[in-house]
């Protein structure tokens, strides 16, 4: 196929791309000749993989500054935070910058926006690139003004000499000045002098969102755009045996019916015409289904009986310490849904042989590769542009909708095609957060401290992201399907099913086993916090069980086993903010506490909760929560607080209400009636978030740090209120009521 190439970022820079390319080739060639055997230290964050400064910062001759990130704004607010970081290190006003997010034509390849990595990877890259760009501008000014660089100041995008002579960044910048590789270290601002970082600057995306501006991929209206709907099979593995489309093609507004094997879609001029045609097409399609789903009410034993690859991921032995009192417990988690409020959507257009896809994917580059594989097009002929969608909280239908749009757009060359999934499609077809089982066993020594600790986790992988075309529904369903690739565990230290399985506490004897289950009875992938949600729920619930056995206060019990000083600080801060141990809960209420450091390497979070349990109905309600978080150097305090508040409410919803349901053949939780989530009547009276700022320390990812502690904190408060320990998620009204009654 002689497909055209969509030019990459290097070709479209202002000021003569060809010249820049020739410089970079010369440099690369020179490096090949001279690079010594030992690799030099790599620059920090994503600069490691995309080292050129102009991959991150562009300064035009007119002084306009653009910041590039390969990460996707998903509603976390980091676009604003990145703008703060760049403004700070460049010494320019916040409002003078623009940030461009993930786009395969414009930005660096930063893989997926996941794992609370954005601040660490991209924020760090932008910080260092901006600081090094400023140094280059100062050096250029020193040369032109013939003064020492140390005498120069920079302010609001202008370099100022001691005698008052001024040169703007736009005057100083020249063609290839920023097309240099980053140095391993940068002259970052002294943390005590920060002016823009550390401020709660209002988010740049909110004004459009609250006034009806174009804010989401759903809002794109390209000239001549048509509306498509897919008709998905009724269940996993269903085969389309018959479908008479003649009547549907004659329906008002219908442009085309697209069929490729089990992939079925309809395109119409107007959106509601497409919906009517979709309904007619769904009625016309005859499917052969297979009853292959596991038994929902027996899920834990289904999982633990599947073949697994077992590995000991942590082992510590001190034969001099042995336990005296031993308890064990099993905790379970069901499949849970991302449940984006806006079902997935994408727009695609095939023009002159090149495909452009607008998607709320978390990974424009891997999604581009997967779509290229599916369409058998060179990836250079495909451009994927991230446009915000509804919050995703992990791998929802975004990539699949992008693939659907590309499939349909290929059948309608030149025409922009917008695909909008239905609520039922999002609920039935998204890849869920995996079900999990954990088995814990621990002993206390004579002094009431944990002598030995055993933890086993049974889980699928927690990422089936593309990856490869086989991860896309459209590619699985087309006439020549692409097989789903084999599942792989996500390696430690971050881990997938074993994320946060290794205890952060210090135990003299500890043994942690990861039972990785390759077979996936239900479609699953990454959901916010991955295995950490259930592992932290299990560990922190069991810590309370052990504290009760030892007769020690739960907060004190945790501190007795924790060496990490930053961990101790957040525990003490949350306890203090909550007023822990100051009085007892009212008779129908309980207090709960939990703590974790996400992945044992990202942000620290401790949460204290007060929960009310109605003993008549079994209904549990979070009344108030107090959190403390240490995310390293804080860039936007209000943004961080917003993330933690959201984590507490979302995790409380997962923990109290949520499980995917299915019969032998079909997913049956397909809307908000069959998959209820937390509503306003269950919103707590207050949530308080205390930040422990660490100026000058590395950014720690915090978007997912609250999920595990919030779950365990609520569960511990329910146990405190009722005297009953519930270990199977979700902790529904019925389960609580049954436990109280028995």
């Amino acid at each position: 196929m002689n497909a055209p190439v969509i030019l990459d970022r290097r070709h479209v820079l202002k000021g003569g791309g060809a010249l820049i390319i020739s410089f970079s080739l010369t440099r690369a060639f020179a490096q090949d000749q001279t690079v010594p055997a030992a690799a030099p230290p790599s620059p920090p964050g994503s600069l490691k993989n995309s080292p050129y400064l102009d991959s991150w910062i562009r300064i035009d001759a007119d002084g306009v500054i653009t910041v590039f990130t390969g990460k996707a704004e998903l509603g976390q607010g980091f676009k604003t935070a990145f703008q703060q970081i760049a403004a700070e290190e460049l010494n320019v006003p916040f409002a003078s910058l623009k940030v461009v997010t993930a786009d395969t034509k414009l930005t660096a390849n930063e893989g997926y926006t996941s794992g609370s990595h954005s601040m660490q990877d991209s924020g760090t890259a932008i910080q260092n690139a901006a600081a090094q760009a400023r140094e280059l501008l100062l050096a250029e000014a020193a040369k032109r003004l013939d003064v020492s660089i140390d005498t120069l100041q920079s302010e609001d995008g202008v370099v100022i000499a001691p005698d008052g002579r001024r040169l703007s960044y736009g005057e100083l910048v020249s063609g290839d000045m920023l097309h240099v590789q980053a140095q391993p270290s940068s002259k970052l601002k002294d943390p005590s002098t920060l002016k823009v970082m550390g401020q709660s600057i209002p988010r740049v995306d909110i004004p459009a969102k609250v006034t009806g501006g174009v804010a989401y991929v759903q809002d794109l209206r390209l000239s001549g755009m048509v509306h498509a709907r897919v008709v998905r099979p009724p269940s996993y593995g269903a085969q389309l045996v018959d479908c008479d489309v003649a009547a549907i093609e004659k329906m008002p507004g219908v442009v085309k019916v697209v069929r490729d094997g089990n992939f079925l879609a309809v395109v119409a001029a107007k959106e509601f015409q497409a919906i009517k045609a979709m309904n007619a097409l769904a009625n016309a399609a005859k499917w052969q289904e297979v009853a292959q789903l596991p038994k929902l009410n027996d899920l834990p034993s289904v999982l633990t009986n599947l073949a697994s690859q077992d590995s000991v991921i942590f082992q510590r032995s001190d034969p001099s310490v042995s336990g005296q009192r031993t308890i064990e417990a099993t905790y379970t988690r069901p499949y849970q849904s991302h449940g984006s409020v806006g079902p997935s959507c994408a727009v695609a257009q095939l023009a002159d042989g090149a495909m452009t896809v607008w998607s709320h994917t978390q990974g424009v580059y891997p999604d581009r590769q997967a779509i290229a594989d599916m369409l058998r097009m060179p990836s250079a002929s495909i451009r994927v542009i991230h446009v915000e969608g509804s919050g995703c909280y992990g791998h929802n239908g975004a990539d699949d909708a992008a693939a659907d749009a590309a499939m349909i757009a290929r059948a309608l060359p030149g025409v922009p095609v917008r695909v909008q999934w239905t609520r039922e499609q999002e609920h039935a077809w998204e890849p869920y957060g995996p079900a999990m089982v954990t088995r814990l066993k621990a002993s206390l020594d004579a002094a009431g401290k944990i002598a030995d600790w055993n933890f086993e986790v049974f889980s699928n992988t927690h990422s089936m992201r593309p990856g490869g075309a086989g991860c896309l529904l459209a590619a699985q369903h087309m006439a020549q399907p692409v097989a789903v690739p084999p599942a792989k565990p996500i390696p430690l230290p971050e881990g997938g099913g074993d994320r946060n399985a290794i205890p952060i506490y210090t135990f003299p004897n500890a043994h942690v086993v990861h039972h990785f289950i390759p077979t996936m009875p239900i479609r699953i992938s990454a959901m916010r916090a991955l295995g950490a949600y259930h592992n932290v729920f299990s560990i922190e619930s069991f810590m309370d069980e052990l504290a009760a056995l030892a007769g020690v206060d739960p907060v004190e019990f945790r501190l007795n086993h924790l060496d990490d000083p930053r961990g101790r600080d957040v525990i003490e801060k949350a306890a203090q903010g909550f007023g822990w141990r100051k009085g007892q809960a009212a008779s129908d209420r309980g207090f709960g506490f939990a703590f974790a450091r996400y992945k044992n390497l990202a942000a620290y979070c401790a949460i204290a909760s007060e929960v009310e349990v109605n003993r008549e109905t079994g209904r549990a309600r979070l009344v108030r929560a107090v959190a403390a978080v240490d995310s390293g150097q804080v860039v936007n305090p209000d943004g961080l607080i917003n993330q933690i508040e959201g984590a507490i409410i979302q995790s409380t919803s997962w923990t109290l209400y949520e499980s995917v349901t299915f019969d032998a053949t079909r997913i049956t939780s397909i809307d908000w009636q069959t998959y209820p989530i937390l509503r306003f009547d269950a919103v707590p009276e207050s949530i308080e978030v205390h930040i422990i700022n660490r100026p000058g320390k590395p950014f720690l990812g915090s978007g997912e740090t609250g999920q595990g502690p919030a779950a365990a904190s609520v569960a511990n408060a329910i146990a405190n209120a009722t005297g009953i320990r519930l270990r199977d998620l979700p902790l529904t009204r019925k389960r609580i009521k049954d436990a109280i009654d028995s």
Binding site: D205, R221, E271, F680
Partner: protein, 165 residues
């Protein structure tokens, strides 16, 4: 053709009478604020105001709207001249992804038109049909209280505003 009055202006709409208002707003009138969330009346993302009341536009057919006044978020204010409820949501930073927010604001606006100073319980009860998945609820509640205060101030005459300070 159906005559539809949206944000104070009359539009001639060429759509089937059973077309839900949501698609008329988004597809025919090119308005962004009302969002598709479920099409089932379960989530509130599509909420608009019809004759002063919060209505789920995804399940309200065009045929029922002839002669009625439809208001969307775009009809309340603009980015440069935001309405009190829009200012309040900006000032409280009451959004994460923000997809549910337009619907939340319209339902809250309908409440404030009816009850200018609602209690916290009244706001929670009113907003119960609307889902937020990011967990922005605490900020949404604060923003509605703030909007009530801003609307009260806006309703005062200039002299009253001065003496209020």
């Amino acid at each position: 053709m159906t005559t539809l009055k949206v944000n104070g202006r009359e539009h001639q709409v060429d759509a089937e009478p059973d077309t839900p208002l949501l698609y008329v707003l988004r597809d025919d009138l090119k308005l962004n604020a009302a969002k598709f969330g479920c099409g089932l009346g379960q989530c509130g993302a599509c909420t608009v105001i019809v004759d002063g009341k919060a209505v789920l536009s995804c399940v309200t057919p065009l045929v029922l709207l002839e002669g009625k006044q439809v208001t969307t978020l775009e009809g309340l204010g603009t980015i440069s001249e935001p309405a009190p409820i829009q200012r309040a949501f900006m000032e409280e930073q009451a959004a994460q992804c923000g997809y549910c927010i337009a619907g939340m604001m319209m339902r809250a606006q309908a409440l404030l038109l009816r009850i200018p100073k609602p209690t916290d319980q009244q706001i929670r009860a009113e907003l119960a049909p609307n889902l937020c998945r990011c967990g922005t609820h605490m900020r949404i509640l604060r923003a509605v209280h703030r909007a009530a205060r801003l609307m009260e101030t806006a309703a005062l005459s200039p002299a009253e505003k001065r003496s209020d300070k």
